[in-house]
Each structure stands twice: as C-alpha cells, then as structure tokens.
C-alpha cells in the first residue's frame, strides 16, 4: 500500500514486473504470430491475466478482478467459442498477400512504438503520489463513489450501449425463419421431385477392425463412398480412408500364401500395385 | 430614373428564359410547333431589345441607365443590379437580332434522322431550340449585369447549354463518317467546357478576392461595379498595386479564354468546326462577345492601373492573334475551321482596339463586336447552307458552285467581303477605327496589324475561288440554289451590313458616350495631333466648306 506512494517501487514489485512483463510481451507476440486462432486466443488470455496482476500491483484491485472475470473469463471464452464455430483446425497461412504490407506494418509499428516510448520518456513524470488516500475507503467504494456521482451519466450511457450491443448481436446472428418448417412428408416428396437420394443415406463402413462414423464404406469397386460420412467431417477433411490399407494388406496376404505354396514361378504374377489398381480388389473379394 | 415602373431589362432576359422552358415542354410529336414558339420568343426579345435601344438616352450623364437594383444575398452584399450603357445596348441588340436568324437557319438541324424511330422521351428538336433560347437569356443578362457576382454566375452558366449544343448536335458532314464525327464532337464540347471552366474558376478566385478587399476597406463588402468605381474615384478604396494586378489577371484570363486570345484559342476551331453552323454562329458571334465586352466593362473599369500596366503584353498577344489567326485560316482545309481562325484574327482586332485606350480604338472595338457578329453570322450561315447541300466540310470537295447556285455564291461572296472588311460594308468602319486608334498611340503595332487586312483578303478569296469558281465538280452539279427560308435568313443580314457600312451613326451615337465614360474611368486621353490644322485660306484649294467643321473636329 505505502509502496505505491513512492516514485521507486518495492524490489518485489520490480521483480514481478520484469518477469511478468516479459511473459506479457511474449504472449502478445504469440498472439500475432501463431498460425491457429486458438493458440492466439490462449496466448492473449495469458497476457490478459498478467495485465490483471499488474492492475492489482497498481492498486486497481477491482479492475484486476474484473479483468480476470470479465475479460479472461467471458470475452476470451467468447472468442474461443467463435473460433470453434469457425473451425479450430482452420489455420490461416501467415504468408502475406498484400505487397509490402508486412514491411509497412513492421516499419510503422516500430516507428510508432519508438515515438510513444520517446514521448513517455521525455514526459516529465517522475514523482508518483500513490493511491494511498484514494483507496483509503477501499478501492471498490472509491470507484463506486465516482461512478455514481461524477461519471453517472457516462455510466448510464454505457449501460444503454451494452443493451444495444446485446440486441445488435442477436439481430446479426439470428436467422429469420421465413416459412414454416417442412413436414417429413413434404420433404420426402420434395426429394422425390428433385430425384436425388430417395432412400436414407448409407451407413458408414463397418469393418472388422474399424467401425466409426469417420470411416466411409466402400463401393463395389473398392473406392470409398462420400455419402457414407457426414458432410461436416468431409468439410474438415477428417475422413479416414481404410480401403487403401486394407486392400494392401489383402495383397500382402495373398503374396505370402503364394510363396508358402511354393508355386508362382513364371505364370501371371499379379504386378505389385497400390489400391489405385482396379483389378486387385475384385480378386481379393473373390477369395 | 422615371421609367422604372416596368423592369425592361429583366423582361428582356426573362422572355427567352421562359421561352426556353416552354419550348422544352412541347410534346415530342409537335416539333414544328416548338420551332415556331422558339422563333416567336426570340422575336419578342428582339422587340424588347429595340425598346431598350429607343428608351436609352445617349446624352444622359449617368453611366448606366434603365437600372434595376434589388438586394439578393444580403450577407455577401450581392445585389441583383442591372443597367445598360451604350456598349451593352449595342450588344444586346446584336444578340437579340441574331438569335432569330440562328433559329431560322437551324430550322432543320435538329430534326431526327429519317427512319429514326419516334422516341417520346428524347426530343432533340425541342431541346435544341430551348438551349439556344437559354443561351440568349444568359448572354443578355450578363450584358446587363452591373454586379460582378451576378455577371459571373451567368457568364459561367452559359457554358452548360453551350456544352450540350456543341456536343449534342452536329452537321452530318464529318469527313470520316458519323460515329467518328460524334467522338470529335464530344471532344470539342468537353474541350470548350474545360477551357472556359478553368478560366471561370480563376475569375471566381479573383471575384472573391475583390469582395475580400472591398469588405476589408469599405467595411461592407460589395460586388457592385458602380460602387467600387466610385469608391476608387473618391479614394475610399485603394488597391495595392500587386493585389490589383493579380485581380486584373484573374478577370482577364477568363475573358481572354472566352474571347479567345492567342494562345488560349485552340478550343474555338474545334467547337466551331464540329458544331452545326447556327451553333457556331452562336459561339463566335454571341457568346464570345461576352468576353470582349467584359474586358471593356469590368477589366478596365475595375482595375484601370493594372490595365494600363498589362497593356503592352496584351497588345502584343492581340497582334499575334491577328496575324496568327489569319495565317492559320489560310492554311485550313475545312471551311468552318477556316472561319473559326478568321474569327480569332478578328477577336485580335477587337482586343487591340480595347486596349489601345483611345476613343477610336474602343469605339471601333465595340462596333467591331457588332459588325463581326453580323458578318460572321452571314458568312457562317451561308457556309452552313452550302455544307448541308454537299454533306462535306472540306474545301477540296467543292468547285464551280457559282455556276449552279449563283445566289448562294453571291451571298457567300458578300459575307466574305465583309469578313475581309471591304469599305462600304460595316466591318470596314470598325476595323479602320481600331487601326487608327491603335496607330495614334502605338504606330508600330498599328502598322503590323494592317498586314492583317491583306491576309484577310488572301484567305477569303482563296476560299471563294476554291469553292465557288472554276469548273463545276460532279457532286456539286445537282446543288440547288438558296431556298426562301435561307434567303430570309441571309438577306436581312447583308442589308444590315450595307446599311451600317454607309450610315453607322445610330450605332456610334449610342456607343461614343459609353466609351468616353470608360476612358474617363481609366483616365486616358486621345493623343493630340501633332499639327493643329489652322483655318488658313487654302489659296484657291477646294473644300472650304468642309474645312471649318474639320478644323473644329481637330480641336
């Protein structure tokens, strides 16, 4: 508390600053460097927590807590939620498309930062009269007093803003249903009319070793069928194709049995080929 | 003055304006009705203009007469001030006189092409005549305005209808087919617009500057020409030399573009070459006159010192315009462009006369504006008839026309002779006055300018010889002579040229006092003759009778 009043802080705080400061900067850098949005979000959350600690260190207890609860707890989670919605695995390449954008950004950012720091540097702010008496009656009470007296109008306006924002969010994301939902009968009729996929979609492949929704069933010619896995998985490219390896195994088995039987010198030796070869699977199937 | 009961000047500008709207409103099917309506409106305007000319009292001592004055934009001291001096009266009369002929000459220029599907939205004919009337209204009011701001507005607004007239309607006589002609036309129109717009904007800056100066020195800023002139005379308003020169240049540039003065002339040949000949007449005989007129009324009266400061340069430029325009006219292959360059040469004479700062020079310049309007109208309209017959603007496509169409050739020759200012026709008087006026102050320039008359003879006669004389060309063979409508257009113009050539007194009487007033504002005096002719008995020499009055003339 009293340490806050001095121009030079306690060494404890100094240590804390240097360690956490580095962490914060690192987090910030990760935020803008990471390929995947999820990682960015997480590192940003880290930075925010560090900032919360700094708030506390600066005597802004209420804000520190709010920072953790609201920001890190709510807003960042909102971010993560949206990221999930858009696709966690969707990684955008960091390759710059706009010509010279990156250099401009780097140069300008550098210059800007230098300017800010220079500004702070030559701003004559040496003595800190800490928050001793301001926080005397407790930080929260102090803030409350200010908010409901001096800044009450701003406070009200912010409230209005928040409500507007909430409504706005709903409006933007809400999808208006214009016509009543189709009954099952109508859907089926529609399907018939369009003449596509009248019966239910085929089930995913069921194999001896694999049995999961992300494994397509095989068509008679051994190629995997798209219809058998859900489009979402297809969208994300998370479909596991077994036909290839299983066929390869069949082939290997066959080969081995041939060797074991000792024959198979001279006559039509099936050429080694991957699942791409169309004939092999049929043979395999016949056996 | 007494006869303020009826706002004559406003009416003169309002009649064509109303006429323009009415004409534009005529339904598409009733083309002929629109034409007659336009013609009637222009004739009514002519009537009003004549009333102005008769109400105008040359002897009166106040500079402007028939004045009307109403506050318009109080905060900026902009007033709706109208008033005419002799020069304005003459030019208003010229404008009102020419428009009916322009309308008559362009009677069929805006008819939709044969086989064109009737379209009820797009009514070219109505538009054509409405635009012409609109131009007339604006020109008239800018001749009448004595408030700089009011003048500026209409000086600029004029560009809009002119732009559409140039770009929208062409004689179907382009050398390379219609769509090429269309591109050429739009090019010419845009060029015209940009050129004049630039000039106008520079002038606007000068106008604002003028307002600032007056506001700073007189307390309340004003645009009124008379107020400013009086204030300067009484010494309330004193412009710094630098300021005055800058403002003068700002004004003069706009007028020099409009006039046009070398080297700002290149828009004119394109515009006149591509537009139909009535529109070309409108450009050179009516609209451009606003430029030269404004030099007389605004440049000289607002900035006398700066005017006399800039005089040498301007005179040299005018001289260049005279010789240069004439030489280029000689080199042209296109009839209308030839006439355009001839006009450039003539505008050189006008500006020369204005800035010679002698009563002969400025009086001559004013007469020149009127006479050049009439003579160019005659020549250009006849040329238009000729072109419409053959469907080509190239001189080389003609030959021997006088054999098949003697009346057309004759009128063309008279127009040409007027252009080369043959004595007995009106332009001679004005040209000679300009030359005398220039010579009496700047002999060298006067002498060089006189070469212009030889060159004028050259390009006119070459044009006449190539088109009218010689063996009859095959395509020309079937050409028919002037029709009644065309004769009605040309004959009065020629009659007027002859009349003003023999008896210009009505015009000079109106103009002289105004010129005197202008000179008094600039405070310049005519140079005195070196010898005072004394009434020595001419020992038996003839002409005693004249000598007396000539002597008092010389005094």
């Amino acid at each position: 508390m009293t340490g806050l009043a001095a121009t030079a802080t306690s060494s404890g705080e100094a240590v804390q600053f240097w360690i956490l400061g580095i962490v914060a900067v690192a987090g910030a850098l990760c935020t803008i460097m990471m390929k995947r949005a999820v990682h960015s979000a997480l590192s940003l959350a880290g930075t925010m927590i560090v900032l919360a600690v700094f708030y506390l260190a600066n005597g802004a207890y209420f804000l520190g807590v709010v920072q953790i609860v609201v920001y890190t707890g709510a807003i960042m989670m909102l971010f993560l939620f949206v990221v999930m919605l858009v696709g966690v695995t969707a990684a955008d390449s960091l390759k710059e498309t706009l010509k010279g954008q990156r250099w401009l950004a780097a140069g300008l950012g550098l210059g800007f930062g230098v300017l800010l720091i220079a500004g702070i540097g030559n701003a004559s702010i040496k003595e800190f009269n800490g928050l001793g008496e301001a926080n005397a009656g407790g930080n929260v009470q102090g803030l409350a007093a200010l908010i409901f007296t001096k800044y009450v109008f701003a406070f009200e306006v912010t409230g209005a803003l928040l409500i507007t924002a909430a409504v706005g969010a709903m409006v933007l994301t809400h999808r208006e249903r214009t016509e009543r939902a189709k009954s099952q009968r109508e859907q089926s009729e529609a399907r018939i009319r369009e003449g596509k996929q009248v019966p239910p979609l085929p089930a995913p492949g069921v194999y001896a070793r694999h049995n999961a929704v992300d494994i397509p069933g095989l068509l008679p010619d051994g190629t995997p069928s798209e219809l058998t896995v859900s489009p979402t998985l297809r969208e994300r490219g998370q479909v596991r194709d077994v036909s290839g390896e299983s066929l390869a195994e069949l082939k290997a088995l066959e080969q081995r049995s041939e060797d074991w039987l000792g024959r198979g010198s001279g006559e039509a030796k099936p050429k080694p080929s991957g699942p791409a070869a169309p004939r092999e699977p049929k043979e395999g199937a016949q056996k | 003055m007494a006869d303020l009961s009826f706002p004559l000047l406003t009416a003169t500008a309002a009649v064509p304006a109303v006429g323009a709207i009415a004409t534009a409103a005529v339904p598409a099917a009733k083309r002929t009705a629109a034409k007659w309506l336009a013609l009637l409106c222009s004739l009514a305007t002519l009537g009003l203009a004549l009333v102005i000319a008769f109400r105008f009292r040359p002897g009166a001592k106040e500079p402007f007469q028939l004045t009307e004055s109403h506050a318009w934009i109080r905060d900026f001291g902009v007033r709706y001030d109208l008033g005419v001096d002799g020069i304005a009266v003459a030019l208003i009369a010229l404008t009102a006189l020419l428009i009916p002929f322009v309308i008559l000459a362009g009677w069929h220029d805006a008819d939709p092409l044969e086989g064109a599907t009737p379209n009820h939205r797009w009514r070219p004919t109505q538009g054509f005549f409405a635009l012409i009337l609109a131009v007339e209204a604006m020109v008239v009011i800018s001749f009448e305005a004595t408030d700089v701001f009011l003048f500026y507005i209409f000086f600029e607004a004029m560009l809009i209808p002119m732009y559409f007239l140039i770009g929208g309607f062409g004689d179907r006589a382009g050398p390379h087919g219609e769509e090429q002609a269309a591109t050429q036309r739009s090019y010419a129109a845009v060029k015209f617009l940009l050129y004049n717009l630039v000039g106008g904007l520079i002038m606007l800056a000068a106008v604002i500057g003028l307002y600032a100066v007056t506001a700073h020195q007189l307390g309340a800023g004003t645009f009124s020409l008379q107020q400013i002139v009086e204030a300067r005379a009484s010494g309330q308003l004193t412009l710094g030399t630098g300021t005055e020169r800058l403002l003068f240049l700002g004004f003069f540039f706009a007028f020099a573009v409009k006039a046009p003065l070398w080297p700002l002339h290149t828009w004119l040949p394109n515009a006149m070459g591509e537009a139909t000949s009535p529109v070309a007449v409108l450009i050179t005989a009516v609209v451009d006159k606003v430029g030269t007129f404004a030099m007389l009324r605004f440049c000289l009266q607002l900035f006398p010192a700066a005017s006399s400061w800039a005089t040498p340069v301007i005179l040299v430029l005018a001289l260049i315009s005279i010789v240069y325009g004439a030489l280029l006219a000689v080199g042209q292959r296109d009839i209308k462009r030839l006439i355009a360059y001839a006009s450039i040469s003539h505008f050189g004479f006008i500006i020369l006369g204005i800035f010679a700062m002698t009563s002969q020079g400025q009086g001559g310049a004013t007469l020149y504006m009127v006479n050049h309007g009439i003579s160019t109208a005659a020549l250009m309209l006849v040329a238009g008839f000729l072109i419409s017959r053959r469907g080509s603007r190239l001189i080389a496509d003609y030959g021997g026309v006088q054999k098949v169409a003697p009346v057309l050739a004759g009128t063309f020759l008279v127009g040409g002779l007027a252009t080369l200012s043959l004595p007995g026709l009106a332009p001679f008087i004005s040209e000679f006055l300009v030359l005398v006026g220039t010579f009496s102050r700047y002999p060298a320039i006067g002498v060089i300018a006189t070469f212009g008359i030889v060159l004028a003879a050259l390009y006119v006669l070459v044009l006449y010889q190539r088109t009218m004389t010689g063996p009859v060309k095959a395509e020309v063979g079937g050409m028919h002579d002037l029709k009644v409508r065309e004769l009605v257009v040309v004959a009065p113009l020629i009659a007027l040229l002859l009349f003003l050539g023999v008896y210009p007194k009505p015009l000079t009487d109106i103009v002289n006092p105004a010129v005197g007033h202008t000179l008094s504002v600039v405070d310049k005096k005519d140079p005195k003759p070196t010898v005072q002719v004394n009434a020595v008995p001419g020992h038996g020499r003839p002409g005693q009778a004249v000598r007396d009055q000539d002597v008092e003339a010389a005094k």
């Binding site: 706009l98 954008q101 950004a105 300008l108 210059g111 800007f112 300017l115 800010l116 030559n122 | 060029k191 070398w262 080297p263 002339h265 290149t266 030489l327 280029l328 080199g331 009563s359 002969q360 009086g363 021997g400 006088q402 004759g410 002779l417 004595p423 007995g424 001679f428 000679f432 006055l433 005398v436 010579f439 002999p443 006067g446 006189t450 070469f451 008359i453 003879a457 006669l461 010889q465 004389t469 010689g470 063996p471 008896y503 005197g516 005519d526 140079p527 003759p529 005072q532 002719v533 001419g538 020499r541 003839p542 002409g543 009778a545 004249v546 000598r547 009055q549 000539d550 003339a553 010389a554």
Partner: protein
C-alpha cells in the same frame, strides 16, 4: 447645282443595285438599263461641266456635304463630295468612256447568258470610280479605291468557270490590297499628324509639319498608287487581268481605274511638293515602269497582253510627270485623258478583232486583217498613231510635253529621266508598230475554213469611231494656248519648267526615236514573214515574255514561302499550342490514375494508412511540445 454631284455617283449605283438584285426577269433588258444609267451619269457630268465653265476659275470648285459618316471622338469622316476642275476632268473621262464602253459591250457580250450581271458590275465600277474622284477626304477616296478594286475583281473573274480568270482576279485584288495597305496607313498617319484627313485642311497645312512625316505619307501614297496603277514593283497583276472580257480591259485596265494612282498623286500634290524625297521616289518608279512596261509589251504575242504592257508604260509616263511636281501635274493628267481615248480605242479595236476571230488572241494567228475589218483597222490605226506620238495627234502633244518636263527637272536627274522617256518613246513606237503589222498587215496566218473574220456590228464600231476621233483631236484641243493647263491650274498649281534643251530640240529628238522604233519594227515584222509559232528568241525576249521574271520571283518567294509558313504554323498550332493543353489534361489523368492505386479496398492497407496518420500526429504533438 452641287446637289447634282451625288447624282453622278447615285445613278450608276442604282443601276448596279437594280441589275444585281433584279434577278432573271431583268435578263432581257439588263444591258439597256445599265447603259442608260451610265449615259445618265454622263449627262449630269456634262451639265455640271457647262455650269463650271460658266464660273470664274476661283469659284469653280463645288462641294456637297451629305452627312457625317463616322464621328468617333476627334475622328470625323464625312460623306461629302467635292467637284473641282481635276475631278471634273476625271468625271467626264470616266462617264464618257464608260458610257461608250457600255454601249460597245451590248454587242460584245451579246452571247453571254450572264450579260445582266456584267452590266451590273460595270455600273458598280462606274459608281466606285466616281466616288473615288469625287471624294472630299482620303477615307472616302479609300472607299472608292477599294470599290474599284472589287469591281475589277468581279470583272476580271467574270468568266469564273475559267480557273485562269479566277486566279487572275484573286491576284489583282491581293496585289491591290498591298497598295491599299499603304493608303490606309497613310490615312492613319495623316490623322495622327493633322487630326483630319480631308483634302482641304490636310493639303492646306502641309507646311506646318516636318518633312519626315510628309515623306512617309508621300511614300505610302506612292505604294498605293503603285498597286492601283500597276507600277513597279506591284505591276504583276495587270498582265493577268487581261483574262477579263475586253471591254473591261478597255475601261478599267486602260482608261480609268489604273490611272487612279496618278489621280492620287496629283491630288496630293501639296504633300509631294513639300517632300522632295518622295517625289524622287515617284519619278524613279515612273521611269522604271515606263521602260519595264514597254519592254514587256515588245515580247508579248497575246494582243491584249501587249496592249497591257503598253498601258503600264504609258501610266509610267504619267507617274513620271506627276512626280515632277507643278511642272508635270497638268501634263500627267493631260496624257491621262488622251491615253484614256486612244488606249480604250486600241483595246476596243483588239476586242473587235477577237470578236471577228473567234476570240483568238495570239497575234501570230492574225495577219492581213485590214481588208476584212476596215473600220476596226482605221480606228485602231488612228489609236496607233496617237500612242506612238505621231505629230498632230493626241499622244504627240501630251507625251512630248512630258518628255520636255522630264528634261526640265534639271541636272543629271533631268538627263536620265529625259533619256528614259525618249527611250520609252522609241520602244513604244517599236512594239505598237509590231502589233499593227502582225495584226493587220502581212498575209493571213489563220485558217479560212475555221475563222471567218468580219466587221463587228454598229453598236461596237460606233464607240470605236468616237474614241478614234477623240484620240485624234483631244491633244490638239487641249494644247490650244494651253487651255488644259490653265483649266487645271487652280487645282494643280502650274509652273513652267525651264528645260536645258529647247522644246524644239525635244520634239525633234522624239521624232527621230519614233522613226527609229518604227523602222526597226518594220524591218523585223513588215519585211520578213512572221512565224506562226513564236521563235525561242533571245534571253531578254524570253524574260520579257515572262514579265521579266518577276512573277516567278513572286511565286518562289511569296507563294511558296507563304505556303510553307502556313503549313508549319498549322502543324505547330496542333502540336505545340494545342499539345500543351492536351498534355496538361493527359498528365492530370495519369496522376489521378496513380492515386487510384492507393484505394486497394483492403481494410488492412487502410489501417496502415491510419497508423501512419496516427504516427504523424504523435510526432507532431511531440515536436510541438519540443518546441
């Protein structure tokens, strides 16, 4: 009485207006109307002349002031006429010869379907010419001056379908314009000097100003005179002017218009008297021209061109005389009048010959015509005798006086001028004899199958006869105790020249050179057979055929040079003046195109710009605080 003066001008003017605006319905009566108005004007002239003779010499000058023409400031031009002895002489000559030629043209133009217009132009010319000689100030004279130029333009180019005619007409007008430029500048100079340009005051107050200005005015007037009177260096148009119908050549390019220059110089005598240098220039021009014209006349085979050369040379005599000052003015005018008679007669004769020879003009295709067209032969012959100065005929008196006056100039100058005049007389005798012989003597060089030479109708011959009579007796009449000189003396103050050689000697010399000239011509064309096609001839001959090459000079220097100049200027106007403007426009377009590239539409590039702006702001604030 003076109110009649306007009538002189008005009559032919009305005639012209009628005929030119009358339209086809006047086609049949046109020529009669034209002639009527011409004759009417002549009648008025005679009345005025009679009235003038009735008065004493001092009060003969009449003046009529119609109205103030151009009053602007100190500049006062009046539409006013003055009729004094000088003008009277001209009026009589113009209207008289004019009327005769009108009548002649009735026959000559019979078969031309545009005859009405022809007479309209002729009337127009008469009006302009009368205005020229009746004007009481230089500006009005200038109007007439250009008016006759216009008339001659219209008449030379009357057969416009002939390109040669159209070109000749244009050339004539242009060359005249150069002269007119001189006149107009002279008027301006007068105005700035005297504040007026009316004859009276200007001529009365020449003493009041410096000689320099007067010399300038004089030279400018001389330039004008050269243009109108086809004097060197502006003589080139006259030869081509023969493209016009022959009556035109007779009236305008022989009798009247081309003498306007002499009138101008004589009228402005006071100025020239006060400016000796200008006078020297005048006599020089006169002397040069009279030799030039004579030499050209010797070489031409076209009868009209030969006569044109002689006209040039005769006017050279007049100008020479006029340049001699008071001792010459009267004789200049006198020779002008007699020349008007016999040269008009000669031209009409030539016209009549052409009329009979299907408009053949080449003298080498004539020959032996005297039997076929006797009247023409006689009248032409009388004119011939008159022009070579055969004793007793008009030419003798007038030309002899001029040669005398030339010697009387005194000093070497006198001898040079006199010698030139004498030489001119000899050459005149030579080429006129040549014309005579080639046309009427020798045996025929034309094909009787094609051409049937015949005498012209009465309406043509009568004017020729009248003119012949004039050319025989006029000179004699004028010289009876110097009637003509005393008549003109009040206007052109007269002084007797004191010749170093006696009058008798001069006359004798003239006779001698005359005989020499005739003799040479006789030897060349009378004795020998004239080849039907022109021999190549000596260098001088060939040069003379080409008007001593000055046309070629004009062509090379003026025409070609002018063409190149204009072509370059047209190019420059397009590429340089206009190019500058279009260049500005183009560069503007390019610049805006560049700037457009900044608007990529990518949010992030806008963000970059925003950050840049922010950085600038911060920097600015820091600097502010720094300062």
């Amino acid at each position: 009485m003076e109110n009649l003066i306007a009538l002189l001008v008005a009559a032919p003017l009305v005639g012209a207006a009628l005929l030119l605006c009358g339209g086809r319905r006047l086609d049949r009566a046109g020529h009669w109307i034209g002639s009527l108005f011409a004759v009417a004007s002549f009648a008025v002239a005679v009345v005025l002349f009679a009235d003038m003779l009735g008065k004493s010499a001092e009060h003969r000058a009449l003046h009529q002031h119609l109205f103030s023409w151009i009053p602007v400031g100190g500049f006062r031009a009046d539409l006013a006429f003055q009729l004094d002895q000088l003008s009277m002489t001209f009026v009589l000559l113009i209207t008289g010869v004019g009327s005769l030629i009108h009548i002649y043209s009735i026959g000559y133009m019979e078969h031309d379907e545009r005859r009405r217009r022809f007479f309209g132009y002729l009337n127009l010319f008469l009006a302009a010419m009368l205005l020229l000689v009746l004007a009481d100030n230089y500006l009005l004279l200038y109007v007439g001056w250009e008016g006759v130029g216009l008339a001659s333009y219209l008449l030379i180019g009357f057969w416009q379908h002939k390109p040669s005619a159209a070109t000749a007409a244009k050339k004539a007008f242009l060359v005249n314009r150069v002269g007119d430029m001189g006149l107009s500048i002279a008027i301006m100079l007068m105005f700035t000097t005297f504040g007026t340009f009316a004859f009276g005051p200007v001529l009365a107050s020449t003493g009041a100003t410096g000689e320099g200005r007067l010399t300038a005015i004089g030279l400018l007037l001389l330039l004008a005179a050269c243009g109108k009177s086809a004097q060197v260096p502006l003589q080139s148009w006259l030869g081509d002017a023969m493209e016009g119908p022959t009556p035109v050549s007779a009236l305008i390019h022989a009798a009247t218009m081309v003498t306007a220059g002499v009138y101008l110089i004589t009228r402005s005598g006071a100025i020239f008297n006060a400016a000796p240098d200008a006078q020297t220039a005048v006599v020089a021009v006169g002397a040069v021209t009279l030799l030039f014209g004579a030499i050209v006349g010797c070489a031409k085979d076209d009868i009209k061109k030969a006569l044109a050369g002689s006209t040039m040379s005769q006017i050279g005599y007049m100008v020479l005389a006029a340049g001699l000052g008071p001792i010459g003015y009267a004789f200049a005018i006198m020779h002008l009048v007699t020349h008007g008679f016999f040269k008009a007669g000669l031209f009409l004769g030539a016209g009549s010959v052409m009329h009979g020879m299907n408009d053949e003009v080449d003298m080498r295709r004539y020959g032996g015509l005297r039997t076929h067209m006797p009247i023409t032969f006689v009248t032409f012959g009388l004119g011939y005798l008159a022009i070579i100065g055969f004793p007793g005929l008009s030419g003798f008196f007038s030309k002899d006086k001029i040669i005398e006056a030339a010697f009387a100039r005194g000093g070497t100058e006198g001898w040079v001028l006199g010698g030139a005049a004498l030489l001119g007389a000899a050459i005149t005798a030579f080429y006129m004899t040549r014309v005579m012989l080639m046309t009427f003597f020798g045996e025929r060089r034309w094909d009787p199958e094609e051409v049937h030479p015949h005498e012209s109708p009465k309406v043509m011959t009568i004017p020729m006869i009248v003119l012949a009579v004039g050319s025989v007796f006029a000179g004699g009449l004028f010289s009876i105790n110097e009637a003509f000189v005393t008549w003109l003396e009040p206007v052109t103050s007269f002084a007797h020249g004191h010749s170093p050689v006696s009058a008798g000697a001069v006359t004798a010399a003239t006779m001698v050179v005359l005989l020499i000239g005739v003799g040479i011509a006789w030897r060349m064309y009378g004795r020998k057979e004239v080849p039907a096609v022109a021999p190549r001839g000596s260098l001088l001959t060939r040069a003379a055929r080409r008007d001593l090459l000055q046309d070629d000079f004009n062509h090379v220097v003026l025409v070609r040079g002018g063409e190149h100049l204009t072509r370059t200027l047209v190019y420059l106007d397009h590429s340089l003046v206009d190019g500058a403007v279009n260049g500005t426009a183009a560069s503007m377009g390019g610049l805006s195109g560049r700037l457009r590239q900044l608007q990529t539409g990518f949010v992030r590039s806008y963000a970059v710009q925003m950050l840049g702006g922010a950085a600038v702001l911060v920097a600015a604030t820091l600097l502010m605080r720094g300062v």
